[in-house]
Symmetry: C2
Subunit: 519 residues, 2 copies
């Protein structure tokens, strides 16, 4: 019998391997044995460096909140002017009783009042390498859980193929299988002898057999990876027949592989993805808790002017009262489609840059279902079904598993044509249209749904779109125009991501901080 | 402005699409437009059908618990004889203060007493299609969360390749890229013209360009999918250079692709995988709550005998007291390596079948780390790093993200050679060996770890192994020997999975039920 091992004894007992540890730390210091790393980072301006400097921040979205938090920590005197009655901007979670306002409509969210009955109508994912925003989650104690993109039980649906939706598991397994079979044939026919020398040739054949689960003749004839015929997907009590492979010609003629099949290969969609427990706006709430006193809500900026030694911001408060705020610096996070219509004395180059930024026509629709039919009937726990219809995607909630009801995302549209078309519909029409399309994925859909809410970002007064269409922000806006700095995800190569908003804010406050330190 | 839409109005408003709904339900009834489904199932014997029938169940693991629960619900008079002081069998979660017993050792678990500081030393995953066990989770209200296998931030490590661990994201992206490039070359060289006709040829080239993210010359030269050079993995404020592809020849000479690269393609490892919040033994606790009064703990079965009209089980209680229990039927879930040494009057065929079942040499080791260095330094949230060393895997916890400390699984061994070798070590030696190996993945590992616990299943008195090595259970044991029925995952094609244990139990109770109903 072993004696009880205390922590101290444990540490002593591993003394035997400390030589190894030391050796590897030395190797690491020499740049050997050092894997690529990407940890959460802690951003920090010099404490107390900002005393006496006034900064006005335009917009209390994620970028504005980050700027306010970092500047106020360093002693800057900050004010955030926010046009609406809430912080967060596009970070928006809808729950029971919320009112969703657009330019010509209001929707009351008629979900039941339960903690798992919400839908993120703006950003909904935190990729693992978005270390700035995850760093704030860590610092603020925002609880995280996994968000699922890639669920092999979900469906691929192309209206002209396969007579209905097909299970992702089969699409993915069979595509791999056919690719492996075809390449193995080419290798066996010596078609790649100029690329693959003797030993490599045998090795790649071995790799392909394993990659696609080929049969002894290097043919793809189906595999247990695609699931079994009969009552279970799995093998059950006795291994049964596996599903026949999907037809290659149909697979090639579907639109699955144009990007949907590779979606989780994309860097921003790679597992692990995370989400705050209880809704994405937990991040907003955590920032607000720290900077709420700095935010002036319902202040609509009407003019942005550089002055000889600072900035002058005019804005309209409730009941139309007009005010002016002067400061040493401004950080403008207002989305370009809104900003371009605000009076200003920016340089012509700045104005051109702002006008060059186009925002996407993103629409999201959430439905409350009386029953989690996707779990009960299809064993779908989170993830995405894809369709070539306008709704593009159906998202199943990666929270509240096995509870009585659930909220699904019944549409996530970003292509301009359906996006604008859905935006122009009245909210009730959007729901009807999305339900009609969802019926082709889930027959009986209409009878399962109890209420719905939509968000057409192009119709949102102080947003006018989902996110910048370009991954290359205009260089011009990286530099200040006088003492006006620009931020928001529109200043990053991560459009639509809170990480881009946070990094742009950190860059702006760093630049202001450096300028202040130099004077 | 839209009026408030109540649930009733919502239902009326979708009347417009009810024609579509009806049409699709009709199509579904005709077998059209019907995707493969796999929902949670509710198992149920005829209520009150068992009154007056006594069943003794041997073993209170998952299979025994399912049998006891289902039989008692149907009115059978059940007793479960359990050799140890706890239910659950191989479903074992270790927490602060637990004692982990093996044949010649005892370990006290010296983790801190916090709800996220635990490790599942037995089963740890619930695949989405394991609908029997998930059905019980649903019925009992066991909270579930996502378990992550496939984390692209984790590492692949082969001691002879790449001078250290490489990030999974790059291994997977580059392997896809090279496969796509090679197949595109073969197609362009007309090497597959007998398989791919004109239109298919163009389509598969398009597919491959997207599959591997090939350049305009159909070459794989790296992609943003593999991450960027510089301080971030992601694109940051301006899109930068992407990582160079890993060398194909090294990839081919690594052991990554032998199965590790495809791990999450396997049916049982496919996303979505789930786990109970707070530890896998939440499932045991939920069953125990319902059948605890039926379980006789610390009763070691010493003899199993068929009689002319039932069964007679001899067992030894605490302090060596001997007892005998007679019943109409027995369900024996005792693992074959243990069962084969218990006196019995089974038929020779039954005995041969029991002796044919070999169990794996599985070992798991958990460590408490003072700091979640995998999250802080590498942005690894859950998932698995792979190595060709004995420890085989390091699992990062898919729970307690961003908390102060964490429990990692520092080894999950199942190959017989290292499995037996680790089993024969004293617990403190196992920890030392696993730490030394972990240092090659995480330099500085030894200094981050505070305490550890191991479970060598071959050394566990009433288990003697991890799970049956064969996926084809012996046919002989599917039939009863007299009135003795066999169960456990060893009776399923899902060895080592709780689903197999549950299905085998359901099959046994169904068979007993049918036999009772026929008399």
């Amino acid at each position: 019998m072993q004696p009880k091992m205390t922590k101290r004894q444990f540490l002593q007992s591993i003394g035997a391997v400390s030589g190894v540890a030391t050796m590897y730390r030395s190797m690491n210091a020499l740049g050997m044995a050092s894997p690529t790393t990407a940890g959460t980072t802690q951003f920090q301006l010099t404490p107390a460096s900002g005393y006496g400097t006034r900064v006005v921040i335009l917009g209390a979205g994620v970028s504005g909140l980050v700027a306010a938090y970092e500047l106020s920590k360093a002693g800057f005197d900050c004010t955030v002017l926010e046009a609406t009655g809430r912080a967060g901007g596009r970070n928006l979670t809808a729950r029971s009783g919320d009112v969703i306002r657009e330019e010509d409509s209001r929707q009351w969210v008629d979900f039941d009042a339960e903690d798992h009955l919400y839908v993120n109508l703006g950003p909904a994912r935190l990729p693992y390498h978005h270390t700035a925003i995850l760093g704030y989650c860590r610092e603020f104690g925002v609880d995280l859980e996994v968000f699922t993109n890639d669920n092999r039980a979900a469906f691929f649906h192309n209206q002209d193929r396969f007579d209905g939706p097909v299970v992702a598991r089969q699409v993915m397994t069979d595509t791999r299988g056919y690719i492996a079979e075809l390449l193995a044939k080419a290798v066996n026919r010596n078609a790649l002898d100029s690329e693959l020398t003797g030993e490599d040739k045998e090795m790649i054949l071995d790799l392909l057999r394993s990659y696609g689960d080929l049969d002894p003749d290097d043919l793809y004839v189906g595999t247990s990876r695609g699931g079994h015929l009969g009552p279970h997907v799995h093998a059950g009590l006795a291994p049964g027949e596996v599903n026949d492979p999907l037809d290659l010609s149909q697979l090639l003629r579907s639109d699955f592989w144009q990007y949907k099949l590779h979606f989780s290969q994309f860097l921003d969609q790679n597992p692990t993805l995370l989400q705050p427990v209880g809704g994405m706006d937990a991040i907003v709430a955590a920032f607000e808790e720290r900077v709420e006193s700095l935010i002036a809500y319902r202040c609509i900026v009407t003019s942005i002017r550089k002055t000889s030694d600072g900035v002058r911001i005019a804005y309209r408060r409730r009941r139309g009262r007009r005010s002016v705020l002067e400061a040493d610096f401004a950080i403008c996070t207002i989305p370009a489609p809104v900003l371009r219509d605000i009076r200003n004395n920016f340089s012509p180059e700045t104005q051109t840059a702002i006008e060059s930024i186009e925002f996407s026509k993103a629409v999201k629709i959430g439905f409350q279902a009386q029953r989690r039919f996707w779990e009960e009937d299809h064993a779908i726990y989170g993830g995405i079904s894809w369709t070539d219809q306008d709704i593009t995607q159906i998202w199943y909630p990666a929270y509240g598993y096995h509870r009585e009801k659930g909220i699904i995302l019944g549409a996530y549209i970003w292509d301009p044509d359906p996006g604008l078309r859905y935006s122009e519909m009245a909210p009730s029409e959007r729901l009807q249209a999305a339900i009609a399309e969802g019926e082709l994925i889930h027959p009986g859909y209409a009878t399962e749904l109890e209420s719905g809410v939509s968000r057409a970002w192009p119709k949102v007064r102080f947003q006018r779109g989902g996110w910048p269409e370009s991954y290359e922000p205009p260089e011009q806006l990286r530099e200040p125009d006088g003492r006006i700095y620009f931020a928001g995800d529109q200043l990053s190569a991560l459009p639509g991501w809170q990480e881009g908003a946070a990094l742009a804010a950190q860059a702006a406050v760093t630049a202001i901080h450096e300028r202040v330190m130099m004077t």
